[in-house]
Structures are given as C-alpha cells and as structure tokens.
Symmetry: C3
Subunit: 420 residues, 3 copies
Amino acid sequence: MVQKFSNLKYMPLMVFQVILVVLYFIFVKYSDETGYDVKGFEDTHVMIFVGFGFLMTFLKRYSYSALGFNWFLAALVVQWALLCQSFFNMKDNIIYINKISILEADIMSATVLITFGAVLGVASGLQLLFIGIVETAVGCFNFWIVEHIFKAADVGGSIAIHAYGAYFGLGVSWALKRKKATANVPNVPSVDLNGPSYVSDVTAMIGSLFLWIYWPSFNSALTSSNVEYQRAVVNTYLSLASATVTSFVLSSLLSHHEGKFDMVHIQNSTLAGGVAVGSVCNMHITAGGALTIGIGAGIISVLGYHYLTPKLAKIGIPDTCGVHNLHGMPGVYSGLLTVLFASMATSKEYGSELGHIFEGMHDEKLTAGGQALNQFLALIVTLGIGIVGGAITGLLARIPIFTPLKDSETYDDEVNWELP
Amino acid sequence: MVQKFSNLKYMPLMVFQVILVVLYFIFVKYSDETGYDVKGFEDTHVMIFVGFGFLMTFLKRYSYSALGFNWFLAALVVQWALLCQSFFNMKDNIIYINKISILEADIMSATVLITFGAVLGVASGLQLLFIGIVETAVGCFNFWIVEHIFKAADVGGSIAIHAYGAYFGLGVSWALKRKKATANVPNVPSVDLNGPSYVSDVTAMIGSLFLWIYWPSFNSALTSSNVEYQRAVVNTYLSLASATVTSFVLSSLLSHHEGKFDMVHIQNSTLAGGVAVGSVCNMHITAGGALTIGIGAGIISVLGYHYLTPKLAKIGIPDTCGVHNLHGMPGVYSGLLTVLFASMATSKEYGSELGHIFEGMHDEKLTAGGQALNQFLALIVTLGIGIVGGAITGLLARIPIFTPLKDSETYDDEVNWELP
Amino acid sequence: MVQKFSNLKYMPLMVFQVILVVLYFIFVKYSDETGYDVKGFEDTHVMIFVGFGFLMTFLKRYSYSALGFNWFLAALVVQWALLCQSFFNMKDNIIYINKISILEADIMSATVLITFGAVLGVASGLQLLFIGIVETAVGCFNFWIVEHIFKAADVGGSIAIHAYGAYFGLGVSWALKRKKATANVPNVPSVDLNGPSYVSDVTAMIGSLFLWIYWPSFNSALTSSNVEYQRAVVNTYLSLASATVTSFVLSSLLSHHEGKFDMVHIQNSTLAGGVAVGSVCNMHITAGGALTIGIGAGIISVLGYHYLTPKLAKIGIPDTCGVHNLHGMPGVYSGLLTVLFASMATSKEYGSELGHIFEGMHDEKLTAGGQALNQFLALIVTLGIGIVGGAITGLLARIPIFTPLKDSETYDDEVNWELP
C-alpha cells in the first residue's frame, strides 16, 4: 500500500502535463514569421541538456539523478516557460510560436537548472519539480520587469537568467536547510557521498566543455544584427579564454599541495567568463576589455569556491555545485559592467546600434546615465526577487507532500533509481 | 593456422570496400546544385555516430563493440546507401552527389543501427555487416516504394526508417535465435553480462541526450520550405518534451520499488516522442497536438518495455535495446497518424503547401482519403518488407561463414577486442 | 616554503596572459566585415576542446591532465595565435578580428594539441605551455611561408597544421627523451600507467567520434565558394568513411589474437582519412578518388601504429598517442597528393575556380608544374621547420625552471591534480 502511494508520487506532474496540453490547444498557434534565421538553437539545447546535465554528474553516486532530473525538469519547464513568457505579449489571446520562442524558453529553463545545482543531492525530485514550476513563473515575471519596465540591456541573460537562478537557488537552499537541521537529527548524514569519484569528474567535464564551447552561441543567440552577433561571439570567446587561463593559474596558486589543480575550479570557474561578459558582450567593450572581464571572472569565481562557499555552508546556505561562484557573483559582476558601459555609451561610439543595444535610450529617451541607473535597478530587483522568491519557494517545498529527503538519503541515486 | 584464418575474417569487407570504390569511380560525380542550404547535416552525423553509438554502450561489457560496430557499420553502409538510393534516379547513368545525398545516406544508415540494437550482443561482427548490406539495399527499395509508388508523406522517416529498421531487426532476431536455441545447447549462457553497470548507464546517456537534442534537426532535415521546416522543428521538440515527462512519470508508476525510475525507460522512451511525431511533424497538427502525440509515445514505449519486451523474448524474439519500443511501435503509431492527418487535409488548411506535404494529392490528384489510404498501404508494405526481409536475412546470416556466436560469447567485448 | 614556490609555478602564465591583454588593447579592433557567413566555427571548437581533449583521456590515470592541459593550452594559445597570425597582415598597425579570425586561431591551436599528444604524460604542464607558445609563433611563421611565399594549396591544413604539429611533436619528444634517459636513472619508471583502462578507452571514443563527425566542417571551413565548400565536405566525408572501414579490417588482420580489433587503431586511424584528404579536399579528386585516399590513409596509419611507433620509441622518439600515424604520415601523404593534383590541374577542368584553389597559378602565373613544385617545397619546408623547431624547443624545455617530470611521475594525474 505504501509502495502504491509512492508509485503515484509523480502523478501530479502528469496532471500538470495534461493541463499544459490543454493550454497549448487553446492558446498556441504556429507563427508565420519565418524569415528570421535562428542562431544558437541547437547549441543552446546542447548546453541545457548535455551541458548542465553532465556538469552535475561530478558526485560519485548521483550521476543518474543529475542527468535524469536535469532532463525531466528542463522538458517540463520549457513547455511551461513558453507559456509564461508569452503571457505578457499575446495578441488576441493567441501565442504564436516558432524556433525563437522555444529558444527563449530553453534559455529560461537554465534558471531552474542553476537552482538545481545549488541543492543538488539534497532536494527530492518532487521538490525540484515544484520549485522549477514556481521559479519559471516568477522568473518570467522578473524577465518582463528587466526587459519592459527597466528596458535593461541583458543580451546574454547574466542578470535575468544567471544571477536570478543562482540567488533563487541560494534562497531555496537556505529554506531547505533550515528544515533538515531541525527535522532529521536522528539520521546519519551521508557526507561521504558529497564528493566526486575519478570517473564522475571525467563525465562532468563533458558538461563543462560543451557549456564552454557553445557559450558564445548562447550569449549571441538573441542579437539582432550580424555586427552585433559577431561582436557578442568574439567577446564571449575571449572572455572565456582568459577566464580559463586565470582559473588554472589561481587554482594552482591556492592549492594546499604543491600547486595542484582542483577539478572543481576547472569544471566551473573556466565558465565564469561566459557569465561575466554575458550582459555586455554585444557592447563596445573592446577585445582587450573582454579579456580583462574574463580575468576578473576567473578570480572572483575561484576565490568564491576557495573562501566563500565553505563559509556560506557554515551559516546554513550550502551550495553543492557552487552556483554562486559560477552564476551568482559573475552574474552580478556582469550586471555592474552593464551599468559601467551604459554610463559611457554615446551615439558617436555606437551609431545606429545605440537604440538597439540600450533600448531605454531609444524607447524612453533615457540619457546614458539614466540607462545606467535602470541597469542597476534591474540588477537589484532581480536579486531581490531571486532571493525572496527562492526562500519562499523553498519554505513551501518543505511540506511533506513533496517528500523531503532524510539526511541519510542525500547525494544518493539509490533513493530515486533502480541501480544495477 | 586457425589464427591466420580468423585474422582474415573481415577481408570480404575490404573487397566490398574496393568494389564500392570502383562503382564510385564509374558512376559518381559532384553535383553542381549548390544553392540549397543543407540543414541538419552535422546534427544528423552526431545522432548516427555518437547518438546511436553511445546509447548502445549501456551493457556492462559491450561498450567497445557497441561503439566500434556502430561506427564500422555506419561508415560502410553510408557509402553503400548512397549508391542504392541513387540507383532509382540516375541521369545518363550518373549519380550526382552533394551534402544532401550524404545526409540521405546517413539517414538510411539509421535503419541498420536500429536493427543492430535489436540483436546487440548476440550477432557477430560479420553477421552485422552482412545484415547491414542487405538491409540497406532492401531498405532503399522500400523507401522508393513509399516515396514513389505510394507518394506517402514521411518527412522524418518514422515509416521508412524507424518502423522498417525495427521490424527488420525483430525479423533478424527471430531468425538468429532459432539457430542459437538448437545449436549451442552445451554452452553456458553468459546472461549476467546482459545488463548495465553504473558507468555504462551514464555513458549511454551521452547517446540518449544527443539523439534527443538533434532529433528536431533529423525530422526537419528534408523539409522544403522555411515555414515547413520551423513547424517540423517546433512539433518535434514539443513531442519530445511531453514524451520525456510522460516516460519519467510512467516509469515511476510501474516501478517495483517505491516509485523508482528505470534507466531503460529514461534512456529510450524519452526519445519515442521524436519517432512518433516524425512522419507528421511538417503537417498542421497544432502545438497541442504535438504534445498529445508525445504523451502517447511515452505511454506506448514505457508499457512496451515493461510488458511486451519480456513476452517477445519468451516467444523467441529477444530485443536487447528494446528497439520495438523506441522505433517499432512509435513508428507504426506515426504511420497511423499520417493516415489520420492525411484524411483531414484540406487545401483551405494547407494552402499552397498541400501538394508539397502530401505529394500524392499533387502528383496523382488523390483526394485526402486516397492519400490516407496510400499512407496506410505504405506502412503495411514497409512492415511486411521489414519483417520478411529481416527474417530471411537473419536465416542467411546463420551460415557458418558469418561466424555466429556461441551463447558463452554473447554480450562480451572479449570476443572482438583486445581488452586492457 | 617549497610549497609556496610550487604554488607560484604557473604565475609566469598569468604574466603572459596580462601581456596578451595589453597587446589586445593596443592592436585589436572589431572588424566590420560581417557579410561573410562563417561555417564550421562551433564545429571546430568541439574538435579542439572536446575532440582532442577526450581523445587523449585513453590513459588509465591521465584523464584529468589530458582534459585539463588540453583546455589550458588551447585557451592560452588561441589568444596568442590570433596575434601571431595577424602580425603579417596588419593594416595601420591594427588587427581587425571577427569570427573568422578566431576560427583560424582555433585551427592553429590544433598544432599545439597534436604536439601535446606526442608527449602526453611525459611533459610537465609548464613544459607544455612553453612549447605551445613557441610552437604557435613558429607555426604562424611557417603558415605564412606556405601561404604567401609558396602560395600552396592547403585548405584543410594537412601540411601547415597536421604535419607541422606532428613533426614538431616528434622533435620535442626526441629532445625531452634525451634529458630523461640521463637524468632520472634512479627513478622507477611508472610504465604500468602508460596504458588504458576499460572506461578510459570509452571516454576516449567521445573525442574520437566528435573529431570524425566534424572533420568535414574543419576541412571545409576556409573554402571560398559554396561549390568548393560542398566538394570539400563530400570528399572529407567519403575519405573518413573508407579510412574507417580499412582501419577496422587492417586492425583485425594484424591482430595477435584471432582477429581482434585494437582500440588504438579504431580511435585514431579512422581519423587519418580526414587528414589525408585535408589539403586536396577542395580539388577535383572525384568521389572515387576520395574513397581511395581514405583507404590509403587507413593502411598507412594502422601500419604505422603496428610497426613504426614501437621502432621510433626504441630509437628515442616515443609518441604516446601515435600522432605520427594520425597526423604526421597522413599529413605528408596529403602534401604529396597536392603535388599530384596540382600537376594535373587545368583550367579546362577547374574553370574559374582554378585561381582560387591554386593561388600560385593566379597570383604568380605559375604553370601546373610550377604549382606542384611549390606544393612540394611547402611540404619540405614545413617538415624541416617542424622537426628542427620542435627539437630546439624541446631542448630549451629541459631547463629546470619548466619542472621536467621524473620517470616516476609520468602518465600520472597525481602530479598535477587533487585526486578524489
């Protein structure tokens, strides 16, 4: 009888899937806008499903769950995000979809996967799915504020995707942890599973490398001209390259054992260059500027892993994958860079591109300073919505219906999978 | 002396390769048609070589053979398929080739890899190569019937590629099994190798995820306009997403242990959405329709793995990868969907696209009902040719020259590889 | 204190990274040339970072180093190569960059990764980085000679990238080996680590397959018309396919145990078809010719692994990955093929393409024979610069500051990584 109930635990998801079908039947039609050549569609899919999925396989006995929940979450969230995103710009109550709609929904699903990284191994499948559904709706609302209220430049989504997802994740982690500390005292924590094996660190590199390779496609996917697109690709590539070199050097520098590299830094901080340059990659930051941004990203990220993550864990905000160091701080850094570059933007420098890149300067006739202020506000509001939204969602996820894990069940595929 | 003979066993393949070279010198020229932008070429390669190859690494000690034979088979068959396919539309005895020819040959090679999945671990290398060569020639003939006799719509190949390859594989499996059951009684079956290890299930996910990611490219590769292309991509993506959610939920529902997921379902049934929507993905099925098709695919496929595959094995048709549940039944399902959507097709709904999507309605002036009948006949003929062709080919593959495996040699890399 | 010094060992790299930033600020601007559709950019990235990286994970305890150093090297070298390459064609002391510049820099970084393969497990990280920086500068100079002095056709880089990188690597290997034989006598060589495990051979196949899949993109990336592009893709694909079939057959034929395949051949010789056709893939070699070239490549490469590599190791030129058989000899073979096809080139055959493919025949009004001679000279000069450059660089890399490995430290991640 107990078994029967536990077999039914994912049925609410099936109900939600059926509701999605009904909503699609009612609201969604194919778009006829087809002249637009969509860049980055397939590359972004690789990042979402292979990149995030395999990056999180680094735990020695949580690879199935990392790959499986990543897939389950993204497949559900992408359908839901498409509706949520389009809610604000329907015409005659119809949502027109094409490759770009799906690409945007893919990008939004990254927020949920980032949050998954923060609570990897400590949240149950049902908790993750509940969190993902709420986070997507809130994230689309926040995205709309960033884009339509503040008219903020955020082409690669470092503000509205990376920082949002990371701080939402920290909020969730804080809320889930409170629960565990009080409720599961009798259980022996399975701390020994919270670490990699030799092979799991190699499979994690599959994810890490594919994320790195396609990051220029991700950041440039939503650019609107070829000049802007090429600049976004070049800047992202350069920032990733210098962040990679910096991460290796700094990892060796901070080593406790004769300058050895730490795989955690290599798998993650190398990617921080992609986040850090994300929101500004289509701006005139110069090639040297892109390299400099990447160096800063590598430094921030490795220092975060080395010093900050252990401290956060102590004060009750564990972060399994260190998403704060890969997505959180580099996202804030990128947001602050948009403030800087917006404040310096002139029509002399940008020509006819100015209004496309800084929409507030076109739509609202903002000055450079005004656009810079809006960038800052967009960042602050995103952080606020992320942290508060994550904390509330995490607290809601504590109710027993979402089957929270006992400490003895953490970081363990055994809970969710038939193992060989 | 025995060793020398066994070293020569693949020499007939070299002879066949040389014959191919001669045929290419005689018949093949570069095409000058170059204005056509070829979509999906590289993505399809990833599916064929990485996708199919890694998906089949799930057995604990057959990963080398899965990857190796997949590669060997595809590299040989793609050359052969290019000739076989073009045999029916040569001009002045010349075959003109370009990227599209190779893409089509790649797609045809998928039939052989599907069949490989049905007999994974139980067919010898020589048997596989013999089967592949015959299956390709028969498959190109069947493809010609589907396309030119019945003028059937089958853009993603769910009829002529997936259903054909799967039922051909079941025919082969039945024929090979008969042999084994009678001839190898004294051998101890190495049944314990017919299962995954923790790591092999993770590497199989590489294949599974890349197949999933690029399936929209596969289904849409041979569309002829941008509107049709985008619709094919969107529909395939939605169907995959809902099939994935459904597969997870149903896998948990059918679990014998507290709602745990079964990796076999996750690796395979998630992809059934791509097959199920394949033949109709360029039609006006609506976004809600695509999601519904995917849900159906997930249900059919997981139920197939859970109930049908063990029964088929009992009656002498083992199916190592369960291709019947991933390619067979979802392919038939897609074929039946073409009957449905063809019967409902109107020029009011489709406009000028009608004749491109349903060629019989243009070339043969068929009514919607006539096209629907042709779709049904194309499916039935494909199943017949697949099953009968597979059974006969499998019986021929039993002759000793193809070095059939003893039961003790099954599911084991040791037979074919120098292992570390 | 010793620990502190060893923690600082990569700091010179950080200094070099900062110098690169300064040079980028001074010299580099975004290009406005944006009409050009860049093919093969992302595909080449996959080859460089995933392809080369994972191919070299085949050693049982050197997977972290293979992936890590490959990434570190490429990320640094790609920045440096972009400057070195552009040094010869600056306008007003400005280097204009766009996607193509980065693509070309990516391609140049392949030389360093090929050399890495030759000394995989025996060179220290600092040695590799020193070698990479020198090799890139010398390689760009050699590239300029091949392209601008000899006006040699080398579209896929089999001469200036593959042969150069491989012979530079052999030169380095010879020079490093001399050091080791004399200096590290007391150490016990860790020879048992110089081999694969079951899992490491599977992860190496990830690299191998992605290299194979995207090789047509690599060879065709720098073509200048769609006709030429499609021919390059088709020829490369066919050559890879026949090389793959040949490698399997020959691997079985040379087996010591009943015709078993050797993973080393399968992972590497299958790819030799891509190198062998590289320099001639845009020429009128015919489809049958492409297949024939691939067969030759498979034969040369497998024979090289079987007979030559052990002999080279005996005379003091070890080659861990056998890059001589994958890149060296097939590169020379491709160079000789350019001599052949240049000597036969007529304007009747090539029409208006003649001057684009054989630039010497256009720019310098060379005859077919003159172009053929130039092709030969370009090959010879490349080999000379590669071997001598590699040997000198290797000798310089022996100075203690580059922390050469003791024999007991070879092929071991333990030296460089915090292992789980």
